[in-house]
Structure formats: structure tokens, C-alpha cells
Amino acid sequence: MGRGYIVEGAVESYLSQLCELKSTTLTGLLIGQSSAQRDYIVLAVRTPPKEVSSGDSLDKDWVIEHARQVSRMLPGGLSVLGVFIITEVDGKDTQTTLRQLVFSVENLISSERFWSPADDDVTDRVTLHINSKTRKTMCRTFDVKDPKSMAKPADWKYQSGVCSSWITLSCCLHINLYFPLPMRQNTPETMEKCIKDELHTWAQQIESGVCLLDGKMFPDDADLTTGQRRNAKQAYSVQLLISPCDQRIGDVVQKCGGSVSIRGAVHSRAYVHSTKPKAKLAEKMLKRDIISTVASRVHMLLEELATTEEQISNFGVELCIPRRIFCPMKGRGPLSVCDYQFSDEGSSEATERLKEMLDFDAAKKTSTQVKKSHLKILAQKFQTS
């Protein structure tokens, strides 16, 4: 018995449109949420075409890099679940290509993760092959935990309104990281390693934190919506209680070549599908978003620092960490994607990135709608951090 993917109707029209483009091979990503109970696909995004056209040959590295960037633009609960490919012919190597892509995407994304995978995580990823001439679709899954995994057939079913039944969890989290830099070798690489080690320790604190959803603690295995009538709460405010690890490894006092402090409060958001959601799943998704958003922002900052290293004075540096903006997706219910913005960037850069990475075409809509979504981005910018 294979997996069954319930896919948002709008994805069907999007893929149809892609089929009509006269090109031999098109790839893209499938985004949604997989849990023990169900698999949902809410969005399909084509691999952005590269400026330098290298013909129709598939650039696997670019597909994978795109997946990595898109991954950072997804709030908790939504992730890259698979890859699609649209071809004019049914070749045997299409299957091989899909398999390679799915494994490579997973390897890259998981290598950058700071949260620890759980035993009950779903490790199946989906591949979708559409023949643009016959419109025949073939859907298969691979278990990315098993390198020798064979393709298993899966169901691909379109349904309208998949995006409207999601519960949003959100919180604003205070971060206060403070750690030393080593004595010698104050290079960007050593600083990056120190930061990564500290983020790992902090991530463990977050993962073992106690979650309250709308002020309540839920026992293990409880349903989030127990005792509520249908169509009850759609949004939960989350509180997280943490405590440092009991044991300290290493010396109490160490000589150091400086210190790093990361302080502030960040927005975090996660989605779970509202059909019998487990409180534990909601908690897991939000915690992972907390960890990912801080890690992504710090990573972006390090990249920025690396390019401006020569300009730093001996007294250190103080930089603003990029803020997060949420951008709702038209026709996708409460679901939003997100992006990060340095303080010197305007909203046009954000719109450009959303367009490029997520094929999020705000500009093509009618003028009133353009204003609306444009405003939404601006409004979000001022509200979030």
C-alpha cells in the first residue's frame, strides 16, 4: 500500500500551464506536509530558468540549489516533499533522474539542518513525472533514509480547498546566544564553526523545551483539537519554556579572543493540516521552524560578514540580523511563504526573490491585486522581525 498525496487543485492548473510551454524538459519542486496520517501537496514551483540557456539539458545542481533556497522560504510544517519533471517523452532515464534528484535534494537540505530528525518523521519523498503530450502522470515515492530504496507507486489526487484547512501556530521567540571566540586564528571559518557549535547546543535546548499551545500543555499523543467542535480554532499562539543543559562541558573560565552575542526576538510560524492534528506534530513543526529561521538568518549574516571582513575595525562589529517577512499566497488559504530582508533592502528586492524562487507572480495580476499583495508585503515587513 503506497502513499496517497492529496494535492491542491491550483497545482493542477499550474502544472497544466507548464505543460503548454514549449520546452522539452521542465523540472520543479513539490511542497507540502507529510505525516503518519496524510500527505498534502500545496504548491508546485518550477526550477527557475537560468539566464544562460544551456539548451534543454537538465542542470541537476541548479535544481538542487533551487530546492535549498526554497526550503529557507518555507515556514514550519511545509517542506520540499519531492520533485516533478515534465517531459515530452517517457524515457527510462527520467526515472533515474528523478531518483537522483530526490536523494540529492534531501541530502543537501538535511546537511544544513540544525534540528534532529525524529523517529516518527516520514522519510518518503515523491517524484512526479508528467508527459506534456499525453498528460499522463506517474507518481512514485522513494524512502530517502534507505540508499537502496526502490520506487513505490503512490496515489496522486487533486482536490479543491486543500489549502484552506490549515492551522497556524506562531510565536515570537527571544534569543540570547553568548559565546567566546578562540584565542588564535580569528578567521571567518573558525567563527563560523563556533557559531555552528553554539547553534547546535541552542537547538537542543529548543527541542527539549516545553510547549504551551494557547496556554495549555498537551499530554503525549493528544489531538490538538480534542473537545472542539468542527471549524473551531484556526490559529494558536505558542509559548516555549526552556532551560539550559544541566551539565557544563569544558572549563568554567577560558581565555578567549573575543565573543559573539546574538540577541533579539524572532517571529516563528508553522502550519499543520487541520484533519485530526496531533499536538506533538504541531509542537515539532514550530520548534523546527524556530531553529531553522535563526540558523538561516545567522547563515545569511555570516555570508554578508565574509564579504565585508576587511572593513571591520578592531573593536568588533554590530550588525542587524535580517528580518523575516511573511507573504500570503493568493488562493492558498492561510498559508504563507517567507523571505529574509536585510535592513538596507527594500520590498522590491523581496518581491523579485519571491518571483524568481517561488514563481510567485504578484506583478502579473490586475493592478488592484498587485497593490494589495504589494501592500501585504510591506505591511508584513513592518510587523515582523
Partner: protein, 470 residues
């Protein structure tokens, strides 16, 4: 260091434990600067404790308390709920539901024992609104301090006290403990070397109850003599009992011991009662050592060694010695070292007797013992007064050897008027697992009558003397 609580008020203790991160940077290493930075860091932690983001979570229960905010978890439990009701929210393994246990279950337990409700100290990381996040980096050579303070405060709940009032008292205690930790840290500062302060609770005789002291970690008890003297004076305590040694820290009910040995199995026995009979027992804690433990098969020859180990465990756990319980080989080596046995004795399966026990206690622990000799077992029935006196003044376990057996005597029940006597025996010949129920049911730890002894054999008793120190 000032929780003077009276355990008799209501037998309910509220205890909060949790780590607080202590991090700071010394950019200059002169003493005034270091002291200033340390003080400021402690002050920062004090304001964290008093802030809206300090929380207490109920261990093994789904309750969270914000002691500095007026917040309800649900209708069932509010800040004005009496503290006793908190115990109804603690989930035991038999419970399925999250809601309150029925009151009836608690009321049948009329036994007067101390209940401890454990709370965990945590910080709420979520905030009402976002703040611009800033990344700051310094590049000067400096010293970075990073450690964890293990906060541990207790209060005795007063009758009818609400959760809010009790928790505010706990916050006050945490604040006091931080101040005390600051004082101890600054006192033991040596250049940039810092000793982490650790809290310990001690149960003092009435009327004092539970008292908390903060000691610097890494400084052994032997160097804290003057600190203990001050404490003894403050609480008007006799100076021959080490109330304030770390090993004598109060062991809270249901706190597990890490080494796996049973502690004081005799406590679950019903003591004999007869005309004018009084019970005199060992004072303090010991571990039950017996055949086959520690993967050593000493079945048939090791009984006196095991009794000696039980005695050694008593001295260790009351804080008189630091060294761990000696192994059979270490016991044998000690006898070789004092010249009592040949070198070939080590590794053998030879028996030892009371005299050897006395020698080893002296050699390894610095403890002196009295030897009591009875020419026949029947005479033991008349030793009631002496044994009672021993348990009253020394309170140490007694090793008795005679016939072909060695045992440990943990107490005596004796009537001055009728002379009726019973002996509380801990039997080292037991070969099974650390099963308290089995051990007490089958009498491996149990009360025996005078017929227990071989009436014609002679016996030697080794009565260890408690050092009169603090």
C-alpha cells in the same frame, strides 16, 4: 542560607530545582573589575528570577506556574488554589487521564510522612512581540566565563497556603540563594579562577528543620571546617555530629540513589512491641552489602567482609570518610599492610572475624572500635543494656561473628524490666537481587529472638565508635 522551616507544620515540602546559565566576560583581569562583572551577572539572574518570564513547571504533571504574574492555567487550578491540591496533578504511572485524581485516593493515605512536590525552574523564551535581533562581536583578548548554577530551594508549605503565596516565597528563596552564591563565589575568587557555588539542604533537629547552605564546589569538606563551625554555633548544635557535611545532605523521599544498593531496608519493618520494650536503632544511612554483589562470588566465605562493607558504607554516608566502600581485596590488603596477614592472603577466600574488622576499620577509615566478647551465645540475651547504649551514643552498625557465621546487628528491642530482647539483623548471606520486599519478607533483614544465636558458640562483637567531630 536561611530556610528555617518547621517540618511539623504540614508535611508538605515544595522544592524548586533548575539550572541557570551564568555567562560573562572579563575584558580586564584586575580584581575589582572581575568582582564587578560577577556581581552584575548575579544581579541579572536575580532580575530574571523576579521577571514575568520565570516559570515553575510541575515535575510529572501538566501544570505551569508563573510566580511573578497573575496567570491561570485553567479553571481547575488558579494562583489561589491551595498548594496541597498540586499533588493531585502529579501523574503516576497508573494514571491515564490528565485531570485531577479523586480526593479519596489521597485521603486514605493517613500515614504521617513528608510529601515533596517537585517543581522545575525554567524560563519562558517566547515574548509578546518581536525585537530587532542584533549580532555583536568583540575581538579583544579576554576571559569568558560559562557555567551553570544548579538552583535548589525548598519551603515548607503552611497550612492552607495558596500556590501564589508559596511560589512567591520560593522566588524569594531563589533570590536569597543567588545572593548567597554570589557571596561564596566572591569569597573564593582567585584571580580568574572561579569555584561554582552549590546548594545543599540539611535536616537539623527541631526546632530548625530544613536548612540550606551553599558550598563552593571543588573545596572538600575538610577545608570547610570553619564554615561548619559558624553554622553549628548559629544553630546551637553539638560539636560532635557532622550535621553540615555534604554527605549528610537531606535525602528527599523518592529521590533515587545512583549506586543501586538498597538503603536502610530495616525502615520498612514493623518493630516488635512488648512490655516496657524500647527500640534502639542504627542512626543514619547504610547500604545493604551481601553475597554475590559487585560480581564477586563470595558465597560461603565473604559474610564478615560484607558486614564490614555495610559498616564502611555507614561512615561514608554520614560524611565521616570520603573513601568508597572497600572491596574484598582492599580489605585483605589492609590486613597485610598492618602485618596481621601474609601477602598470600590477598586474593584468597579466607574468613575474617571481628578483630580483623576492627583492624581494617582503623587502617582504612581511621575508626576505632570496641570489642565485646561473649563466651556463649546464650549470654547475648543479657547484653540488652550495652547494645542499647551503643545504638544511643554511637548509632553505628555492629558486626557480630561466631560459630561459623557473621552478621550485622542494626538495632535492639529491649525491655529494662522484663529483659525481653530482640535483635535487628541484617544478614550478609543473602545471594539474591536488591529486592526490598523479598529481603524483608524472607527475613534477610529482620527481627530475631535470642534463639537466633548458637547458644554454645562464642561470639565476638565489633562495635565501631563514631568519631566526635563536625
Amino acid at each position: 542560607m536561611v530556610v528555617e522551616t518547621h517540618l511539623s507544620d504540614l508535611n508538605l515540602i515544595l522544592r524548586v530545582k533548575g539550572p541557570l546559565e551564568f555567562k560573562c566576560l572579563f575584558d580586564k583581569t584586575d580584581a575589582p573589575n572581575i568582582e564587578k562583572v560577577i556581581s552584575q551577572t548575579f544581579e541579572g539572574l536575580s532580575s530574571d528570577i523576579k521577571s514575568d518570564f520565570c516559570v515553575f513547571t510541575l515535575c510529572d504533571g501538566l501544570v505551569v506556574i508563573w510566580p511573578n504574574k497573575d496567570v491561570h492555567m485553567s479553571e481547575d487550578i488558579t494562583p489561589n488554589t491551595p498548594c496541597e491540591e498540586l499533588s493531585q496533578w502529579i501523574q503516576t504511572s497508573e494514571q491515564e487521564s490528565v485531570s485531577k485524581r479523586s480526593l479519596k485516593k489521597n485521603q486514605t493515605k493517613a500515614k504521617k510522612c513528608t510529601t515533596v512536590i517537585n517543581l522545575g525552574l525554567m524560563m519562558e523564551a517566547t515574548r509578546p512581540r518581536a525585537l530587532q535581533s542584533v549580532f555583536a562581536r568583540t575581538v579583544q583578548t579576554s576571559h569568558f566565563v560559562s557555567t551553570v548554577l544548579k538552583m535548589d530551594c525548598v519551603i515548607c508549605v503552611r497550612f492552607g497556603e495558596t500556590i501564589q503565596d508559596a511560589c512567591l516565597r520560593l522566588v524569594e528563596e531563589l533570590s536569597n540563594q543567588l545572593n548567597e552564591m554570589k557571596r561564596v563565589t566572591l569569597l573564593h575568587l582567585k584571580g580568574t579562577s572561579i569555584l561554582i557555588p552549590e546548594p545543599f539542604h540539611f535536616l537539623l533537629p527541631q526546632p530548625h528543620g530544613l536548612v540550606t547552605a551553599v558550598y563552593p564546589s571543588g573545596v572538600p569538606d575538610s577545608q570547610l571546617q570553619t564554615v561548619r563551625q559558624t553554622l553549628h554555633q548559629k544553630y546551637d548544635l553539638a560539636d560532635d555530629t557532622p550535621f553540615f557535611r555534604r554527605a549528610n545532605a537531606y535525602h528527599f523521599p523518592n529521590e533515587p540513589y545512583r549506586d543501586g544498593y538498597l538503603r536502610n531496608p530495616h525502615l520498612s519493618l514493623t518493630h516488635p512491641a512488648f512490655d516496657n520494650g524500647k527500640v534502639y536503632l542504627v542512626q543514619g544511612l547504610y547500604s545493604y552489602h551481601h553475597y554475590m554483589q559487585d560480581r564477586i562470588d563470595d558465597n560461603g566465605w565473604g559474610c564478615a567482609y560484607r558486614s564490614l562493607q555495610t559498616i564502611c558504607s555507614w561512615f561514608q554516608q554520614q560524611g565521616y570518610v570520603d573513601r568508597s566502600v572497600p572491596s574484598h581485596k582492599e580489605i585483605q590488603q589492609a590486613l597485610v599492610n598492618v602485618g596481621d596477614k601474609q601477602a598470600s592472603f590477598v586474593g584468597s577466600r579466607q574468613w575474617i572475624g571481628s578483630i580483623e574488622v576492627q583492624m581494617v576499620l582503623n587502617e582504612l577509615l581511621g575508626v576505632t572500635s570496641k570489642i565485646m566478647f561473649v563466651s556463649q551465645g546464650s549470654e547475648l540475651a543479657s547484653k540488652g543494656r550495652e547494645l542499647a547504649n551503643h545504638f544511643t551514643t554511637e548509632g553505628t552498625p555492629i558486626m557480630i561473628g561466631g560459630g561459623v557465621l557473621a552478621h550485622t546487628i542494626l538495632g535492639v528491642a529491649w525491655s529494662e524490666t522484663t529483659g525481653e530482647i530482640r535483635y535487628l539483623i541484617l544478614d550478609p548471606h543473602y545471594t539474591g537481587a536488591e529486592d526490598l520486599q523479598l529481603i524483608t519478607e524472607k527475613g534477610w533483614c529482620g527481627w530475631k529472638g535470642p534463639e537466633f544465636w548458637d547458644q554454645t558458640a562464642y561470639y565476638n562483637l565489633c562495635l565501631p565508635q563514631r568519631p566526635k567531630v563536625i
